[in-house]
Amino acid sequence: MNDAAVIAKDGEEHGARRLRFEIFRFNPCDPDSRPHYDTFELDDAPGMTLFIALNLIREQQDPGLQFDFVCRAGICGSCAMLINGRPTLACRTLTGTLPDTVRLSPLPVFELIGDLSVNTGKWMRQMSERLRTWVDVAEDVDLDSLETPMDPDAAQAIYELERCIECGCCVAGCGTAVMRESFVGAVGLNKMARFRLDPRDTREDADFFELIGTDEGIFGCMSLLGCDDVCPKDLPLQTQLAYLRRKMAKVTLTG
């Protein structure tokens, strides 16, 4: 018996409450498929996450249900979905914290693969290529020479922003991104803030301005701050966006 089955059996034995899941169903590859919600019922169980619940539904009720999971521990960012309208990670959501009826929908903005599964990777790659979200260096690096040590404080500050798992919650929670598909979202802007801190990246503020000093970048952000409130990794997005905006405004004012 696997973990999910053990938990489910445990739930039955303890007279758990009945959870009702309304799950978005649509297969874009099937011409006969129409977007709708299917309802599934399941007994709640102590310690059960939405990851376990969805697996139980797939195992016991509908093997065709599509959703994404890899790590089950809030690290891979695959399982982001709208849970009662709010984007968050299913694997880190305990069913015990949810109301009796739970509506699950795929993240908006991203390409739908089917049911709850969306192609965040495609969006993230396109954003990364646009913003060049890597350590950008002006000259070729000599890979044989010893790397310059990084100041521990700088490394810590970079690590704080590097914790982003590209789950897409900030994009799905952003009123601007929902309206304007070319907006790079908090994930893109946070990455720019991260590489700006990196001493190995030779780009200066004027270079970053070329990438994000636009209406698709920091000056398109309308500060609705859904990103900051839904980020499952609690990244300091509000602070980073304001900081980048001030730096980019400085580039504008000083030419």
Partner: protein, 248 residues
Amino acid sequence: MSAGRHSQAQLEPRNAPAVSYWPARLDLLQGASGLLLVLFMWAHMTFVSSILVSEEAMYRVSLMFEGYYVFGSSHPWLVSVVALAITALLMLHAVLAMRKFPQNARQYADFLAHRRRMHHTDTTLWWWQLVTGFLLFFMAPAHLYTMFSQADQIGPYASSWRVYSTQWPLYLVLLVVVEIHAALGLYRLIVKWGWLRSVSRKYLRMIIGGLAVYLVLHGVSTLLAYYKLGETLRDTPGLRYQPVEVHP
């Protein structure tokens, strides 16, 4: 630009768009014009509420803005100039803010669906900022044109008569709408630029919301004072206030 500032982005022509500072400038101008309008409106409401002190106090405030204490005589056209300047500032702010409005039916539908499912305070507040801003496109100019064209008709009795006889419905709605819009705009500016970082957004909303409630109540009291005074002038429309000491 020094050699060290060249990035790959600049070395590859196809990836190197011409830099435009306009998106940044427009965003800065939108915020700055909004902030100026908020400060003007609050100062304006403070001076207008001098009627709560006394008729004489309001009279002296109106003399001040007509330049009496500088030139020794009243020049109502100074008020007209201010009304024109504020109209220009309002137009600037309006045209810049319109960039942020949803632009078509799909964007409206997407945003409204997003707002409904998210139940997120700052997203919902932004919608109300947009709605109140839209209303101000029409309500603020109505008031500004009156001030521009009848700048010589400002005083305890003249203003009271205007409020009582024609303007009170406009002023009542305008007061509520403008205070909400100003409070939301100021809040947005603070979080947008990262000012007052030690105050959480929740507390900031409570502080600014409390301020807005106070300002609306203060404004309603002021409006009521003008209305009541205007009511006493029913049989003598056009009567001007006779100052106690100052004789312009």
